[in-house]
């Protein structure tokens, strides 16, 4: 599997109530990579996943998934994808083993193969020890990991996960991230959504920022970091009087001032008259704010 697993251009979906779930989403996702759709709640991430997984019929635009057109060949696409929907809830009467084996059998696996795959992925996600426990007796995080194990075990070339780490604790998130990285190493493609900038930065090979149903920016985390000219930020808790910076974002009683270098950040910090100061490197969150033009932005802090 080489090249692009997904190519979408100008995708849009208008629901029967007239609301546009996505307006103009364009993205490319390669095999062997994790592509993260990043954006706040209501940005259009789930609608985009819905269109790419053939749940929703696009109102406009075009897309190919696994080499097939989403409008013409959607039945063929389904053989090459697996979807872990947002807020999925596995049946309380299923055990983790039954959930994975049943899902694989309904995808055409023999029982023997299904059990083999289930064992591998339940072990990877640290669920093998509870494989015979009913879902109702599992924690919320374990149930979520079972749903992730179901789709991973399918070995689908293109895997979609809508907010797979929502509701997981730190340990659970890392288990899922590790599993997803292992999964793409075999040449498969993972597309996942999140509104967690840190998660995107950690796991993504490519990030697609979606804002108000439109692709706002796309690229590797490193490429996106170059969208803004700043490398450091000075977080001031207290008064911003006397703060000298080219770009300042006010967050209520806090102020974030951006600097191009460490020296500049130190200068800004020393210009703070009152309040506590912390210096940090910029991250995707700062890029996102820049790209979507959010926050109360100004200069020189006055």
């Amino acid at each position: 599997m080489r090249g692009h697993a997904i190519e979408a251009e100008g995708l849009g979906k208008r629901y029967p109530n007239g609301v546009w779930g996505a307006r103009n989403v364009s993205l490319r996702a390669r095999y062997g990579e994790v592509t993260v759709l990043l954006g706040p709640n209501g940005a259009g991430k789930t609608t985009t996943v819905g269109m790419l997984t053939t749940l929703l019929k696009p109102t406009k635009g075009k897309a190919r998934v696994a080499g097939y057109d989403v409008l013409r060949d959607y039945v063929k696409i389904r053989k090459h994808i697996a979807l872990c929907p947002q807020d999925i809830s596995i049946d309380a009467n299923w055990t983790p083993l039954e959930a994975v084996v049943g899902y694989l059998m309904l995808r055409g696996f023999s029982r023997g193969d299904a059990v083999k795959e289930a064992k591998y992925w339940l072990e990877v996600l640290d669920l093998w020890s509870v494989r015979r426990r009913l879902a109702r007796a599992l924690s919320g995080g374990q149930r979520k990991r079972v749903a992730v194990a179901m789709v991973l075990a399918s070995n689908a070339p293109v895997l979609f996960l809508d907010e797979p780490s929502a509701g997981l604790d730190v340990e659970g998130r890392y288990k899922v991230w590790r599993a997803l990285r292992d999964f793409v190493r075999g040449g498969r493609c993972v597309v996942m959504t999140t509104h967690d900038m840190r998660e995107a930065q950690l796991i993504a090979d490519q990030v697609v920022m979606i804002h108000k149903g439109v692709t706002a920016a796309a690229g590797s985390p490193e490429e996106l970091m170059r969208v803004i000219p700043y490398r450091f930020k000075v977080i001031v808790k207290g008064s911003a009087d006397g703060l000298m910076a080219e770009r300042v974002v006010r967050l209520g009683d806090r102020v974030v001032a951006y600097a191009r270098s460490r020296d500049e950040a130190l200068n800004i910090a020393s210009s703070v008259v009152a309040g506590s100061v912390a210096i940090d490197e910029v991250d995707l969150e700062d890029v996102y704010l820049e790209v979507v033009g959010s926050g109360e932005v100004g200069g020189h802090g006055a």
């Binding site: 019929k57 389904r78 929907p85 059998m105 309904l106 995808r107 055409g108």
Partner: protein, 242 residues
């Protein structure tokens, strides 16, 4: 190809049947109600009562399985987002519905196990076989209607309230456990518009339990219901690309 198709159906059946495996007490309830109805009809109607019980039990059972169990199961899958997960696979609507239906047949099998000996003991085997044959049409249209309800009710948590009401009213109110000829003549024709009453009437006529209306009436009614329910299901059931 065929083997994979069977695996898909079996996979769906496997998942959909877990709750019955975990809570077999539902089967006890189902069998107990069957035996209770048999006792009631035998006490008041003797052998004729038992024959009518066999007709009613099969027709009401098929109706309940189709509209209630299948409709509810699909409603729950929608609620839990498993429906979306299943759509984004090789599974087809036919595999999905067949799988859910087969899992529901555990109930029918358990009640059949209860009334088969009753039918044999009281000479109602003819009624049983005829009811099972007509019940296939009844079940088919009930599954279609269950699908319509499951897909049309926007809040999936409300599916049960609609399907339960439809099930109970059409099982016990019209002439299903009792013959339609006990009703006044104009009402006999009116109730033939109800699918359960039409199916029960057809079974009674074909198995020698008497006729309330010309045979063509229940047949026409069932045909209209099956076609209408199929068309309605075909219109509302969305397997992705919504």
């Amino acid at each position: 190809m065929v083997r994979e198709g069977l695996r898909r159906v079996w996979g769906m059946t496997y998942l959909a049947s877990r709750w019955i495996v975990r809570q077999p007490i539902w089967l006890v309830q189902s069998v107990a109600v069957t035996i209770g109805f048999f006792a009631l009809l035998y006490v008041w109607g003797g052998r004729a009562g038992v024959s009518n019980f066999v007709v009613g039990a099969v027709i009401a059972g098929m109706w309940g399985i189709g509209i209630n169990l299948v409709g509810q199961d699909i409603g729950w899958y929608r609620l839990m987002k498993l429906y979306d997960m299943f759509v984004a696979t090789e599974l087809t609507p036919v595999h999905f519905i067949l799988g859910v239906f087969l899992s529901s047949m555990v109930f029918e099998a358990s009640t059949l196990a209860a009334y088969l000996p009753i039918a044999i003991a009281f000479g109602a085997v003819r009624q049983l076989i005829t009811a099972l044959a007509v019940g296939v049409a009844e079940l088919t249209l009930a599954i279609f209607l269950g699908l319509v309800v499951a897909m049309r009710v926007s809040a999936a948590t409300n599916v049960s309230s609609v399907t339960n009401t439809l099930t109970n009213i059409l099982q016990v109110l019209p002439p299903v456990f009792y013959p339609a000829y006990l009703l006044p003549t104009p009402l006999r024709y009116a109730v033939m518009g109800l699918p359960t009453a039409a199916a029960a009437e057809l079974v009674r006529q074909l198995s020698g339990l008497g006729a309330s209306v010309p045979t063509i009436v229940p047949i026409a009614s069932l045909c209209v219901w099956v076609v209408g329910a199929f068309l309605a299901a075909n219109r509302v059931v969305k397997w992705g690309m919504a």
